[in-house]
């Protein structure tokens, strides 16, 4: 069965809430019913077929073509199935995702993977701020799953991260890992200022020496047994993280943020 494909016809002036177009909502629906779904765009509700040409039938495999940066909430609370986005995505991509897989060929906006619970999100381009973070006012960000960003990430990556893994092949902005309570963030490129700001627990894994705040203390150089296992878990990814040459187990360990609980760690490749 061919993938259910939504090809954007025109770019609307207002942002579009794409949250109804997830696999579990569309399961069992006839093409006509899917076409009639209303998508909030500014003050209006637009029918799906007003915005998209629809083809294919497999509601568990969704493709969004010609996507652009105003399509928000793609894959919101996705619970099984897969969504492939060709182009860019707006804010809140994969927000609260429960399971399944979302891949995007372009860039994603703010709050990508925010409060994600499980599943896999892959962004081939860059992402905005608060990747895998918590929504404003909330205390828990991403709680599980894996996010892979092949480009760069904005500020506040993994803000309030609770569990799960964020992999960034490029650079991460300021406040990366801020207020983390657990989980793992790995950054192959450069990191910005205030790395691990107020982190309580969790691991920041870096390939390049960061600018460290005074509230992180050097714990020395160590060979850690869990790192080979962590890298082995990335071996199946279509990513630089899967390259065995990128793996290491010898690190400089910094504990912090001592201004907070201080049980977090920054591990820097030696």
């Amino acid at each position: 069965m061919s993938a259910l494909t939504f090809t954007l016809k025109t770019r609307p002036a207002q942002r579009v809430d794409m949250s109804p177009l997830v696999c579990q909502h569309l399961q069992g629906m006839e093409p006509a019913e899917i076409a009639a779904i209303g998508l909030q765009s500014g003050k209006c509700k637009l029918r799906v077929d007003e915005l998209f040409n629809i083809s294919g039938f497999d509601t568990q495999t969704i493709v969004i073509k010609n996507s652009f940066e105003k399509l928000d909430f793609i894959g919101k609370e996705l619970d099984g199935g897969s969504i492939m986005v060709e182009g860019d995505a707006g804010a809140y991509l994969a927000m609260g995702m429960k399971s399944g897989e979302i891949k995007i060929s372009g860039n994603a906006g703010l709050y990508a993977g925010c409060e994600m619970k499980k599943g896999y999100l892959e962004v081939s381009g860059n992402v905005g701020d608060f990747l895998g973070g918590a929504l404003p006012g909330n205390k828990m960000g991403m709680k599980g799953g894996l996010i892979l960003v092949k480009g760069n990430a904005g500020e506040r990556v993994g803000d309030h991260l609770r569990r799960g893994t964020i992999l960034i092949e490029g650079n991460a902005g300021d406040y990366c890992g801020s207020r983390m309570t657990a989980g793992t963030i790995a950054v192959m490129g450069q990191t910005g200022r205030y790395l691990g700001y107020a982190m309580r627990r969790g691991t920041l894994l870096l390939w390049n020496a960061p600018i460290l705040s005074a509230s992180f203390n050097d714990c020395g150089t160590h060979t850690l047994a869990f790192l080979p296992m962590l890298f082995k878990a990335f071996a199946s990814l279509n990513s630089k993280f899967a390259d065995s040459a990128a793996a290491f187990n010898r690190v400089q360990r910094y504990a912090g943020d001592m201004a907070e609980m201080g049980r977090g760690e920054i591990l820097v490749k030696k």
């Binding site: 599980g144 569990r163 691991t203 060979t223 869990f226 962590l230 049980r263």
Partner: protein
């Protein structure tokens, strides 16, 4: 039935339902993995007084272990799930956590999970770190040689304990040599352990005793020095009897182990002083698993 001059008795071994688990111990090298495994499976010959029966199943190559280091698979058997969990935890805590460079991982998957490092983490006094890798939860416990890495849980499965056979020989050295040959072959069979020292027990027991406080005592019918003093099962030429006890994940696993073990003994044959193979049972009334020797060797 006679194989190479060795009589296979028309009897059976009687075995019981047990709960079992497997753990994988790794270390910097096989020597230290084996030291930790030896410690963890020490004092675990019989549930009669040890609380569990444990043994080393086999060594593992770095390719077979979760962390890519040399390892050893150990199996622990107990009469119930609670007892198994307690034994696993105390042995892991006292023998593996303490052993230099060691790491500890689950060795068997099951819907029923029992704590492996889940509670050992508290040794970290708040500095322990959890990591979920590929859907499995691990604990990194800071210790003086670095970090003790352990998986949080391992699986618990139903198993069979108490498979056995007796080697009756004309002399003690011949009985031991036959048992050594059997153990060497039996250790190649997966999913089984032979929990007694070196896999061999020289003090097989019967149920009960003349002393009320004891629930097991020497199997006098197979004691060669009592041939004239008790209702013996031994013919005059038998001078030594040794037993091999087998615990396995399934009846079929024990079947296989008994077959290769008995065959190894029979290969030595009457020419090397081996006269009979027998087995221990309780009349078939206590254990649900019966291993008929002649059926196994047919």
């Amino acid at each position: 039935m006679i194989i190479n001059g060795v009589t296979i008795d028309a009897t059976f071994a009687e075995a019981f339902s047990m709960k079992a688990t497997r753990a994988i111990i790794t270390a910097q090298n096989e020597k230290w993995a084996m030291i930790a495994a030896g410690a963890m499976t020490g004092f675990a010959t019989s549930v009669i007084a040890c609380g569990c029966e444990a043994g080393i199943e086999r060594t593992l190559t770095p390719e077979e272990t979760p962390d890519g280091r040399p390892g050893v698979a150990v199996m622990i058997f107990a009469m119930g799930g609670k007892g198994l969990a307690k034994q696993l935890e105390t042995r892991a805590g006292q023998c593996v956590l303490t052993s230099p460079t060691s790491a500890l991982f689950a060795g068997i998957d099951s819907d029923t999970k029992i704590p492996l490092g889940k509670n050992l983490r508290y040794f970290g006094d708040g500095f322990q770190i959890a990591k979920v890798i590929a859907g499995k939860r691990y604990w990194r416990v800071p210790v003086m040689d670095g970090e003790f890495l352990t998986e949080a849980t391992t699986g618990q499965v139903s198993a069979v304990g108490g498979g056995n056979f007796l080697v009756l020989a004309e002399s003690q050295p011949q009985a031991l040599a036959a048992c050594e040959a059997a153990i060497e072959e039996m250790r190649k069979i997966p999913n089984v352990i032979m929990p007694f020292p070196g896999g061999v027990v020289r003090s097989g027991s019967k149920v009960g005793s003349k002393y009320k406080t004891l629930n097991a005592s020497t199997n006098d019918a197979f004691c060669p020095t009592l041939k004239g003093a008790t209702k013996t099962d031994l013919s005059p030429e038998i001078e030594s009897v040794m037993e091999i006890v087998i615990d396995g994940l399934t009846k079929e696993d024990i079947d296989k182990a008994m077959r290769v073990g008995i065959q190894a003994v029979c290969d030595l044959g009457a020419a090397n002083g081996i006269k009979r193979i027998s087995a221990g049972n309780y009349g078939g009334k206590l254990g649900p698993f019966h291993f008929h020797l002649q059926e196994i060797m047919a």
